[in-house]
Amino acid sequence: MKMKMPTGLFDKLSSQLLVIELLPRPVLKVVGPLLVPLKIMPEDGRSAAKALMAPHVRDASIEFLKMAAEWMLAAKRARKRGEKVILVPFNFPSELIHAFTKARPLTSEVLTTLGVSALPGQGEDYWNVAMGLGLPDHLCSANTIELGSILSGDDLKPDAIIQSAPGGCDVNSKIHEFVAHYLDIPQFFLQKPTDDSGRGREWYGKYMKSLVAQLEEFLGEKLDEGRLRAVMEKANRCTELYYELWDLQKAVPSPVPNLFSLLIYGTRFTMWGTDAAVRTMEAMVKIGKERLAKREYPAPAEVARCLWAYTSYYYDFFGFFNWMEDKGYSHLGDGLDLFFPKLVDTASMDSMLEGIAEAAWNMPMTRQVGGESMSGSWTEDVVHAVKELGADCVIYCGHHSCKQTWSVASILRSELQKRTGTPMLMLQGDSWIKNMTPMSVLQEQIEEFISNVVAKKDGKKRKIRRRKKADGAEQSAEAEMA
């Protein structure tokens, strides 16, 4: 058989991950950092590896990469094993899929993030495929890059798509619908009623049950209670670890490396409920605890504790997280980390499915802008996180195609100011596409924000007006009515 160079985003990534799968951890620990200067990886990939292999995150990164390898390679080998690959959006609890033996979940947004971080050209070619079909350029790059690769017809083709964004995000649902039609593969729906009363939640539970029924029919496999329980127990373990990290993050300075924000939801959206996920979460908790004990912090001082209101920037090969760290800006996680997992009652099939429905209901986006009021629960979640984690500022990255959050971002900002006195910076930049707003422009504004608004909030104020009164300067220019 002849070898063909992979051209699709998934194929390229998974072939890179073969190396990770092969090398045992101790070897990776030594080799990982060495990979960086080596020319075997494309230069872009190397700068990402550099960030992942930084000493203070390395152990967690290695577990994360091992997990990613297991995740993607399982999908790659699915067909041979008579299993089906199901494409899910990030706001779907993939543990449900893990509970089946004949299905492997793939999450488009996570693939995009990894692709943008590790592939030369940062996935722009795949974006261009979508544009070439005439799709509008105001679609969300998080979906469009990975789906563009699938649409190219030269990448792994999923067997089915689960839609859990209707009600939460038009863009996400429409592009997934488009792909399902274009590839002529079945789509299964988990619709989110934009409803904050109990009725919507009830209805949602029904939808989860009928979705399971449809999946069982599609896969020709009955969801096994024992297997589901095993998955949910691991999911519960992940949940406990999630809150351990949450509590660690309250410490000042934050002992949790900035990069973990991405690793946490990267785990949530892909392998939650598997041993690999537990290992990754454990590795993060371990690092957090050690750093707390040693009071380790990358910069001389923690200048600011930043919570990201929704997404942050992922087109910089993870470099952005480290840039913040070097400046003494702690990244306390972004909106994608606000999925507030709950311990699932594993007593019965019903209680577990109910738990999964609850998890889906609390997924980012679904829970926030998918609410009856787009700003309502979003504001409550951000306010809650600000108070719990002691954030002294919030940053809204202004991801271009995120119309729902853009719609109500100004409401969020004024409510934050009102309820907690916390300032929110509103930026304009795409989270996954590099040439929308240059990194330098974004960094400059963040520095201006933190040095003028956050750091000077107390203590280091200039109080220029008081100084002037002291100077006893003359009357100011008189006001004129507009």
């Binding site: 105001h138 429409k174 488009f178 009623p193 939808y207 802008v369 700003s375 119309k403 719609s407 971002a409």
Partner: protein, 373 residues
């Protein structure tokens, strides 16, 4: 047409003023998924929010962003600058993310005297149907509370029938528009429809009858090509006029300010009024906000093309309109597969600056489907 223009050419028309002066109430709504029957049955005038082609957005842009659909930004502008102060309240439906954002900011910045949120499912099955029936009961309750009197079954049934009669007449008007020698232009048809969304049924019905009488025997000049117009919500009469200026007569449409609002409606079998309305509205929603039923939209435009013997289709979407931006691509592919030429346009709402370039595209499209002069 003059009377129609009086009813559709402004927001607060003399008709609306008279209605209010007589103690009548007006409730705004934003989406064709809103059963106007329940509003009218309460003796209240349902008024569809639109922007009359105004591109002013400087107040709205302080709330929404430049990444939001320009139609919604224009509507919010008019809401916040007082142009819509004649509304006694608002009925919101989760039409699309941009509409939701528009209403939420309107509510946050200014508030509504009366507000009801009608939650409309995006998938049709028995669960969502049952949910929507409950929703309609809640809406009817809200209407009763609003007027301080029970809106009873008879009132709702009577209104369902009246609306069905009007839809029938609108279809009749469309048949005059779609026939071999059309009796009215696309721009005129849009004006008629706009009047329907801004006036009481009795007044509008009388005008509709008059137009049908006038135009039955009338013939508009033979066009260079017959077009179907589909896509984003638009009430821009000028935009349609621009297309027809260069010789492309819009003989029918797939717009929610148009046929999508009334075409496939048929009198439902008698259940409770809410069940009938649920069937009527949830069962016939030709809108990309709905999932798992693209085939309905595809068949809708296929039959429109056939019925109206159209030479081509123009699919337009406002910049940042996600649901139509994607759906137009799917529709284009389906139509082209069938050999129907398609022109896809992206525009800013009300931006007359773009009309020149749009004109060039439309003319080229006509040259393409015509004899390639």
């Amino acid at each position: 047409m003059d009377e129609i223009r009086k009813l559709s050419g402004a927001l607060e028309t003399d008709h609306v003023r008279k209605w209010k002066a007589g103690g009548g109430k007006v409730l705004g709504y934003t989406c064709i998924a809103t059963p106007v029957e329940l509003v009218a049955a309460a003796g209240v005038l349902p008024y569809r929010v639109r922007a009359l082609g105004s591109a002013q957005t400087e107040i709205a842009d302080a709330h929404l962003s430049r990444f939001n659909c320009s139609f919604c930004r224009s509507c919010l502008q008019l809401g916040l600058d007082g142009s819509y102060d004649f509304l006694d309240g608002m009925i919101e439906t989760n039409g699309c993310d941009h509409l939701r954002g528009m209403i939420e900011n309107w509510k946050y910045a200014k508030g509504f005297g009366f507000f009801h949120y009608l939650r409309v499912p995006q998938i049709v099955d028995k669960d969502s149907f049952a949910f929507f029936v409950d929703e309609l009961k809640l809406m009817r309750r809200a209407m009763s509370d609003f007027i301080g009197a029970e809106v009873d079954d008879d009132a709702v049934r009577a209104e369902i029938e009246r609306q069905e009669r009007i839809r029938g007449k609108l279809r009749r008007l469309y048949s005059i528009r779609e026939r071999e020698r059309p009796g009215l232009t696309g721009a005129e048809a849009l004006e008629v429809f706009l009047a329907a969304t801004a006036s009481t049924t009795d007044v509008f019905e009388a005008e509709l009858d008059r137009i049908i009488r006038e135009r039955e025997g009338h013939e508009v000049p033979a066009p260079r090509a017959r077009l179907v117009l589909g896509g984003s919500a638009t009430d821009e009469v000028d935009f349609v006029r621009e297309i027809e200026d260069v010789g492309g007569l819009v003989v029918t449409d797939m717009l929610c300010f148009g046929s999508r609002a009334f075409w496939t409606r048929e009198l439902p079998q008698q259940g409770s009024p809410e069940e009938d309305l649920a069937r009527l509205y949830l069962g016939n929603q030709i809108c990309p906000r709905m999932f798992d039923e693209f085939h309905k939209r595809r068949d809708f435009i296929f039959s429109a093309v056939e019925r109206a013997r159209a030479d081509g289709v123009v699919l337009v979407h406002n910049k940042f309109c996600d649901i139509h931006g994607v759906d137009n691509v799917q529709l284009r592919m389906a139509l082209e597969k069938k050999g129907v030429p398609v022109l896809q346009l992206e525009k800013e709402y009300g931006a007359r600056a773009d009309l020149g370039r749009i004109r060039t595209r439309v003319q080229a499209f006509l040259e393409r489907i015509g004899d390639a002069k």
